[in-house]
């Protein structure tokens, strides 16, 4: 009886949690700047300042660049997830929720859902700006659906990693530290320049880290090219890391709270 009743409410409770943390996102100018304005500024900088000097073999640099910019935006949001989780833990909000008759994992899933929704909003804004800058895609509906799926998977992967950091951090600074390595991943990949132009060591790293196959897959989907093996490599990376991070974060969540 009891459990059935709680299951019915799970999605209502998640909705309440979502509204709460979306307010946190929208009321934080800092978050909006980092996850939306900064990637757009980066896109402008690369296209109009550096773009002329970068040889990608495509006609428009913005077309080449956009997948990477989308991943940068997602990566930038990860630090804020840890930060918000840390504050909830530290300020006793989780304790309040956990003493209430709601599913114990609802507050954590609420943060995950918020990350998906807020990233979706910022990615749409970035794509609209890219369209103004001349970005065009020949992708059909199914390709866009696949792109959305891959971006969602990437978001969840980073968000679960960020959750571990936020839940186990001892200080606000500690919670934010995770953001730095994550920020670097898109920069050392084929997101901005083809890996062929990189020195051997960097090239090896760039070609064997998760962001490159994700970028390549999205690019192939955007411009109707065969996705080849890249999509499986990308999915394998994301699903493996996400699953491990999920298990670990859940363990920390159960133990600490």
């Amino acid at each position: 009886m009891e459990t059935i009743k709680m299951k019915n409410y799970f999605f209502i409770d998640m909705g309440v949690m979502l509204i709460r943390s979306m307010r946190h996102v929208f009321r934080s100018l800092d978050t909006i700047i980092t996850v939306t304005i900064m990637p757009i500024a980066m896109m402008l900088l690369f296209v109009y300042v550096l773009g002329g000097a970068i040889k990608t073999g495509t006609d428009k640099y913005v077309n080449y660049l956009l997948p990477g910019i989308l991943l940068v935006a997602i990566a930038n949001s990860a630090g804020y997830v840890s930060y918000r989780l840390f504050l909830d833990k530290q300020r006793g909000i989780f304790e309040r929720f956990h003493s209430m008759p709601i599913a114990r994992s609802a507050p954590l899933w609420g943060h995950m859902l918020t990350s998906l929704v807020s990233n979706a909003i910022s990615l749409v804004v970035i794509i609209l700006v890219a369209l103004l800058m001349g970005f065009r895609s020949s992708a059909g509906f199914l390709s866009w659906l696949a792109i959305a799926g891959i971006l969602a998977l990437f978001t969840l992967t980073l968000t679960w990693i960020a959750a571990i950091a936020g839940l186990s951090a001892k200080s606000v600074d500690g919670a934010g530290v995770i953001a730095y390595p994550i920020h670097f991943l898109p920069l050392i990949s084929s997101a901005f320049v083809p890996t062929t132009s990189m020195p051997a060591g960097v090239k090896a790293f760039a070609e064997h880290q998760p962001v490159t196959p994700i970028v390549e897959t999205i690019r192939a989907l955007l411009y109707n090219q065969p996705v080849g093996n890249q999509i499986w490599v990308a999915l394998a990376w994301c699903i493996t890391i996400m699953f491990c991070a999920y298990l670990f974060a859940m363990r920390v969540y159960r133990k600490r709270l």
């Binding site: 459990t3 309440v16 509204i19 300020r91 909000i93 304790e95 309040r96």
Partner: protein
Amino acid sequence: MQNAIRVKGLQKSYRQLHVLKNVDFEVEKGNIFALLGTNGAGKTTIVKILTTLLKKDGGQVTVNGFDVASMPANVRQSISLTGQFAAVDEVLTGRENLVMIARLRHLSQPREVTDDLLQRFGLSDAADRRASTYSGGMRRRLDIAMSLIGNPQIIFLDEPTTGLDPEGRIEVWKIIKELAGSGTTVFLTTQYLEEAEQLASRIAILHEGEIIVSGTLAELKKLFPPAKVEYIEKQPTLEDIFLKIIGNKKEDK
């Protein structure tokens, strides 16, 4: 009649630190029970175990007739907690905080309940300001208001008046008395003997991991020799003076 809370042989350690050694007490339905103890005595630890936030190492604990270990969901259905440190969402306004809890308690009219509580706790004027701009007292009142939503049968208040000015303290006392008047069981912890004296029908003192005394105020007083009666003018206490000067300032603006 069944007791609202029964604790028998409760034990809890944090690694080597044996905080609760053998804690026994019972709280009758509709009563105000005060747990007294110095810093670090283990009051918060007891509250956390009773509210299902922390697992006990040993002993039996039932809240509203439900075992905290085996039926935590039923316990949570019966209780609400105001922790030692105000757990309000600072980014949200007072009103948004209350509506959020009302929705999580699945009430049919969250807005009406919220308006009513804002009024009752003197927070109507500040309702649409972010909680981060509230004074300590306002935050505490919001915190307690959030705990009253959904009319839980048992309310836990961990040091509800610590950090409040005398006026704020008296306001919180009034609220607690009203709660008990309407049949709610109140479990509160405090470091102020006067607070226990003012509110509680039963008092227990936690010391070195055990309840060393418990009973009604009258019973506790009997344990100590009566003070010698002296004929002196009754001096107003500092609190009386403070309250008189402050006058009838009623609401925080």
